[in-house]
């Protein structure tokens, strides 16, 4: 049970941290914050990599591959589009 408790501990701390970090966001940044954090939620790519790479089962591998493709779209697309958006927000001279 120890490892599990440790992970739950991590979860609770991360939740509090998340709430503390983003209390005040200017509304101009709402969209980039959303799409940038959306890219972070693509972290499930790590799970997808493990499922694809370390598996003997045929079904598990196909599921992993599908998960990997989707998560990669989420990560790559999410970061790129956020970067593009923020580039437009830079102060004009």
């Amino acid at each position: 049970m120890e490892q599990l408790i440790l992970l739950i501990f991590v979860l609770v701390i991360a939740a509090f941290l998340g709430f503390e970090l983003i209390q005040k966001v200017p509304s101009q940044l709402h969209t980039p914050l959303m799409s940038g954090s959306n890219a972070i939620s693509g972290i499930t790519i790590v799970g997808a990599l493990i499922a694809t790479g370390v598996t003997d089962s045929g079904l598990g591998k196909w599921l992993g591959l599908a998960a990997l493709i989707l998560a990669t779209i989420n990560v790559v697309g999410g970061y790129m589009v956020t970067n593009r958006m923020l580039g437009m927000f830079r102060k004009k001279d």
Binding site: G53, T72, K91
Partner: protein, 462 residues
């Protein structure tokens, strides 16, 4: 140090970068760097995972190449007007991915035998985490797809409500809990497939009764869900970086959701279950709307010293942002002070109007928040409302019987004069009559917003 320790340390480094990145995304000067830092965190997490050893790299390379190609293509090609749909789409993919990760774990280890080197592995808890990842991931996926269809106009934007809807949704949810519990305790495959199916169904049922104008709330809520799904997937594979990153996204998405709800003075429950925007009604207003031609508007604007633009979803529909920017420049050259007043829920996603105007190269300093503009609105000679409706309806402050009473609005009715650019006499998303349109200082300029503004620009040039 063994390999596993190094990988775990790399995950900690990645988590720190995500925390920094998300913090920096909250401030204008650091946002772009923040995004970069969080992407480096992601890269570290991915590379560290690949170093775990014993991986079949052919499949992995195939998956990454395909996914990165599609993602990069979509990110480069998308028009800024299509941003809400794209965010919804990416979000849905993330949710589905978490669902599949949970499912793949069961396919790999259907008997839930404890993996080597893990102390205190509990089959029941892992099965519970699988159900949770599938439930949240499934709702995120189909919910986001419905939001995508509504935002892109492939499906009607209004709320779809039918009798007994709430009972059906409650029954589906109850069935989910029952089959989920069966799977947790018996690990039966058929129960898992039922849970997958019901979760996907619940996402559809949950989002169809929510109208287009409430989409800012729905998108940020689903964004939060995609993070929670990743966190749940982290508990399935006992991986701390998934838990931390997913949880950060879950929390930040929830905060954004709360901000959006406050900007409408409604509770999350009311947005999600209220079926708002399906009904019409509201009291009729005395008086009449007074129309104005763009030619007359030109003479007023020519003499104006202080102009406030109030964009809404109609500006996005008419794609009028570039014309607005041009008119703003001309007015400025004419010695006029201009601002763009942006309501937090204007448009179809949080910050939608800011993105469009920034794309049109409007200076960041001209994009003002609601409170800032309300403090000086009396000074404005003209407030030009472009395709916004409910967010400028004075009924929100004056009519206690109104369904939007209490919602903060941009007080354009206090400006010396108001021009409303509108296609017709239709009502706003709330279905309410806008009492602003009947005010003494308000003039309606009917027609396509882009055409009207282009017309004004041409008159200035002549």
């Amino acid at each position: 140090m063994d390999q596993k320790t190094i990988v775990d340390l790399a995950y900690i480094a990645a988590s720190v970068l995500f925390i920094y990145g998300i913090k920096m995304l909250g401030s204008a000067n650091t946002a772009q760097r923040g995004n970069l830092i969080s992407s480096i965190g992601m890269l570290i997490a991915v590379v560290a995972t690949l170093f775990r050893g014993g991986m079949d790299y052919t499949w992995i390379i195939a998956g990454i190449v395909i996914g990165a190609g599609i993602g990069a293509f979509a990110a480069k090609k998308v028009q800024m007007t299509g941003m809400p749909e794209l965010v919804a789409l990416f979000n849905g993919f993330g949710g589905l991915s978490s669902l599949l990760v949970g499912w793949a774990e069961v396919a790999k280890n259907p008997e839930f035998t404890p993996p080597e080197g893990v102390s205190g592995y509990s089959p029941t808890f892992t099965a519970f985490a699988v159900v949770f990842a599938i439930l949240i991931g499934g709702i995120t996926f189909t919910g986001s797809m419905i939001a995508y269809l509504k935002l892109s106009g492939k499906m009607g934007g209004s709320a779809t409500v039918f009798p007994g809807q709430k009972i059906i949704n409650a029954l589906v949810f109850a069935a989910l809990l029952v089959f989920g519990a069966i799977f947790v305790f018996t690990h039966a495959g058929w129960a898992l497939y039922t849970v997958i199916g019901l979760s996907l169904l619940l996402g559809v049922l949950g989002v169809i009764p929510i109208g287009g104008g409430d989409m800012p709330v729905v998108i940020s809520f689903l964004n939060s869900f995609s993070g929670i799904a990743a966190s749940a997937a982290g508990f399935v594979i006992l991986n701390n970086v998934l838990i931390v990153a997913g949880c950060l996204v879950g929390a930040s998405g929830l905060i954004l959701t709360i901000i959006m709800c406050k900007a409408m003075n409604r509770t999350l429950g009311n947005v999600l279950f209220g079926g708002f925007g399906a009904s019409s009604g509201g009291q009729d207003v005395e008086g009449e709307m007074k129309a104005m031609t763009p030619e007359d508007a030109y003479y007023v604007l020519e003499a104006a010293q202080n102009v406030v633009f109030v964009p809404g979803y109609g500006m996005a529909v008419a794609q009028a942002q570039h014309a607005v920017k041009e008119l703003g420049d001309i007015l400025e050259a004419n010695g006029c002070e201009i601002r763009h007043a942006i309501h937090p829920v204007a448009g179809r996603m949080p910050g939608h109007m800011n993105v469009l105007l920034a794309e049109a190269d409007v200076a960041y300093e001209q994009l003002c928040e609601m409170d800032e503009v309300n403090d000086m609105i009396e000074m404005a000679d003209v407030a030009i409302v472009i395709g916004a409706n409910d967010v400028v309806n004075p009924a929100a402050i004056e009519d206690e019987s109104s369904s939007i009473y209490g919602m903060p609005i941009i007080n354009v009715h206090k400006a010396k004069s108001v021009f409303v650019l509108k296609r017709g006499q239709g009502k706003g998303f709330s279905g309410l009559v806008n009492t602003l349109f009947f005010r003494e200082n308000c003039r309606m300029i009917y027609g396509d917003a882009k055409d009207t503004i282009t017309n004004l620009v041409t008159q200035f040039k002549d």
